[in-house]
Point group: C2
Chain length 498, copies 2
């Protein structure tokens, strides 16, 4: 092993310090979402603002610019860990130095307070409580885009944080192609689902039984509970708090076990990616997930391609019956049909695979208009409700079923939503490739064995960290960049299934 | 309101930054004790070492020395918030600058790893797993005492961290007086308790019912759950993670509800002190607890003087019966006798009020010998077991019942134990004064009303923060410094009670 140049070692040391601060921030945020008492929120905002500001100052120091420039002269191979680290540090650095430290502190504090306000607003379904915070967030996000700079659209500058290299225009085009194709599937899908009894699986599923069953499924998938855990939050998420520390969260509805189960399949999909990243490069680009569109492909792959399938229920139903006696009355085909039931509904996270991306397109449209100033925050509820009714025929009667339902805007995450649809497309594309390269896969999935699939994903995706850009990674693994084709084939296949 | 001098404002700003780091450390430690997955421990140690090192560097910077010297010229009244802050900052600063930053980082890392090893060692009752870590801790603690400096004993330097102004020799004298007095009470107390059925209250007390009852008691005491919570750990504790964020922990034994109940009375006693400190001075000496011996007096006061009394059970037994039907067979006097049963036993935290301080004296003796080099870590189990048998007649057969039982040494907290006995003495002294100054108090306690007692403690102790030194505070409130008299009177009173 050759010794790395001093400039690289120095830069690595600095980045590890930044990462210690960032993972500490993740711990404080996780606690805020899970256990923190309400009265603690103002001071917690101070703590988070301080840690964020300090990390930003360390990362944007003049010394970093000098070391980066020196490292760029070292001729690291582009697909080496060092090459990838330097490339991504440069990308992050160039973005970060455009944001003044005082702005980062201000944004951090606003996000934290806005998050608390949103929780209360959603609980009371009272947009007014959230409005002043949301207005502040949008103003700050627009200012952020201006600081970051962009060519075609301010939205490009925001997208770049979640999906490096992605641009607004091609995504708008992808969505424009996808929309009519989904609508074409939606009609027959709704018709077929109409014959399925509504709420077929409704029953009483004690939270403790759900927790035990979910854990068993996550363990079978390969999620390592000595290095992770599951807690309860309003909005499920997956967060890495350090080496060997991946936290999943979900929520429970006593009358419907599928809500928490599919959340856990989803979040454990994220968790497998996090746990499969190369630990030697923890927190550095070579050891970090490449983009949200790829991250979301992993959650969707496990949730929908593995979990919402007949082979899944053929294996898991007898086991589920041990935890939930109510399920004994059903066949695997009935449960599978129920969890694939297509219907127009208010809540994105409850949406089926066919309508899900329509929810995303609505949010993308609103975000784009907010960021370009075509829509003001006070008009969001009315615009949402009007657009939603046009799309679904459903009338939103409370904002907790509408524009207050998601955490993203409260947390300043404008630009994130499109990556969900990219994730759906990537999931289908990767799963198709996994099946093609592993002919025995379907048989294994029927037997509840996930090792081959996990090993393939580890090798193709997880181990790569951010060595390649997302588009390049998709091309290397599947032979093409993200396309709508495989997802549509998958949906049509389900429709034809029976 | 006069404007504060610039030097003071600058120093305050710096101290607030240090406090942001310290409270962040508390969050990470709380998480480590409650929810953190095992595989996360090595990286968590890095995070804690980093935060501790950074806080130490900020606190010990040359600028602080200059600002402190300037502030000391301002002539702040000694009992003003500013005067107390400057006095205590000086005390902490002088101690802190004697510790090199690299030592603080090393100590932080060692403590974190040692804590994990202790957890496992205690679980397996295997001293060998803990031994190398404990040896390292003792070596570091001895080095720390040398860095800090001392006049009479290296143990003085350690005590000072927990009980400002206390010295080894007077404590040894206090203990030497206390010991025969306790032994004199012990004989008749054991005799009386021998007639009480052993494990009278044993039964089945579901954890959820214990949690609900404990919460109700803590709420009645005045603990604010919008600004605090209770979680589960091996070793109960109370920790403040920020403004409005006081976390208590306990553990549960299904067969014995009194274990978790008295833990919660104890920890909520600490919590009331923390929640009652003046929030305007959060994290600064004027808004911080004055010493561990005073802190422990608050936990003991609520646990033993309020909770282990006939008046407590006269009020709470009918309510407890709603949660624990098993208790319906008992009278308040029977329950009170059971929770005051005196017996020689292995575990300090399970010890009754009479024998408790004997456990402390054993630890004080061992700590003193470890720190002065008269005893080596490998010899601790044998020495412990021999001394313990001499004191109690009981033979220790596993180290989890002996020298592995407490968390303190694993966490580097040598010098802490004596403050438990100071706390017992102070509790009795304060409670005697509270009764004297509030003649209606006993009647209120019988009725489950704690407002008068809490208001008195808030005014006399909590609101004062660290305005006075611990000895001075005891003298101001009770008219004398810490004495063994009131505690012994209290014990003799219980013995005479019936």
């Amino acid at each position: 092993m050759t010794t790395l140049p001093v400039c690289y070692q120095k830069l690595l040391k600095r980045m590890r310090e930044v990462n210690l601060l960032n993972t500490t921030t993740s711990i404080l945020e996780w606690d805020q979402d899970t256990y923190m008492p309400h009265a603690a929120s103002a001071y917690r905002a101070e703590q988070l603002a301080y840690l964020g500001g300090r990390a930003h100052r360390l990362f944007t120091a003049g010394a970093v610019a000098e070391l980066l420039a020196e490292c760029e002269q070292q001729g690291f191979a582009p697909d080496s860990a060092e090459g990838a680290n330097v490339r991504e540090w440069r990308r992050h650095y160039d973005r970060a130095v455009r944001l003044p430290a005082s702005f980062v502190v201000r944004f951090g504090r606003a996000k934290s307070l806005s998050y608390e306000a949103w929780r209360e607003a959603r609980k009371q379904s009272n947009f007014k409580l959230f409005k002043p915070h949301f207005s502040k967030i949008v103003a700050l996000v627009r200012q952020k885009a201006d600081y970051l700079g962009y060519e075609a659209s301010p939205y490009d500058a925001l997208l770049e944080a979640y999906e490096p290299g992605a641009r607004t225009e091609p995504i708008a085009q992808l969505f424009a192609e996808l929309r009519p194709a989904i609508v074409a599937i939606l009609g027959p899908a709704l018709e077929r689902s109409a014959s399925l009894p509504k709420d077929l699986l409704q029953g009483t599923y004690p939270v403790a039984a759900q927790q035990a069953f979910n854990r068993r499924v996550a363990e079978a998938m390969g999620f390592d509970f000595t290095a992770g855990r599951i807690d309860t939050t309003t909005h499920p998420f997956c967060s890495t708090l350090g080496v060997g520390d991946c936290r999943l969260t979900t929520r429970y509805r006593e009358e419907d076990f599928t809500d928490s189960l599919y959340s856990i399949l989803h979040e454990a999909g994220h968790g497998l990616y996090e746990q499969g990243l190369p630990p030697a490069h923890f927190g550095m680009p070579a050891g970090a997930a490449v983009s949200m569109g790829i991250h979301e492909s992993q959650s969707r792959l496990w949730e929908n391609h593995v979990g919402r399938s007949l082979s899944f229920w053929e294996y898991w139903l007898p086991i589920a019956c041990e935890y939930f006696p109510n399920l004994k009355q059903f066949t695997a085909a009935q449960v599978n049909a129920a969890v694939n039931r297509v219907r127009l509904s208010f809540i994105r996270v409850d949406a089926d695979q066919v309508t899900y991306d329509l929810h995303i397109m609505l949010r993308f449209d609103i975000e784009l208009k907010l960021v370009t100033g075509q829509l003001g925050v006070p008009d969001v509820p009315a615009y949402w409700n009007e657009q939603f009714e046009q799309m679904s025929g459903l009338k939103v009667t409370k904002d907790s079923d509408g524009c207050l339902q998601d955490v993203h805007w409260a947390g300043g995450g404008i630009g994130y939503f499109p990556t969900y649809t990219l994730g759906n497309l990537n999931a289908a594309q990767l799963m198709q490739k996994a099946r093609q390269e592993n002919p025995a896969l379907e048989g294994e999935l029927k037997g509840g064995h996930y090792q081959t699939l996990l090993a393939w994903l580890r090798q193709k995706i997880y181990q790569e960290g951010s060595r390649y850009r997302p588009r390049e990674l998709m091309e290397r693994v599947t032979g093409e960049s993200t396309s709508i084709r495989h997802h549509l084939e998958h949906l049509r296949g389900k429709l034809a299934e029976g």
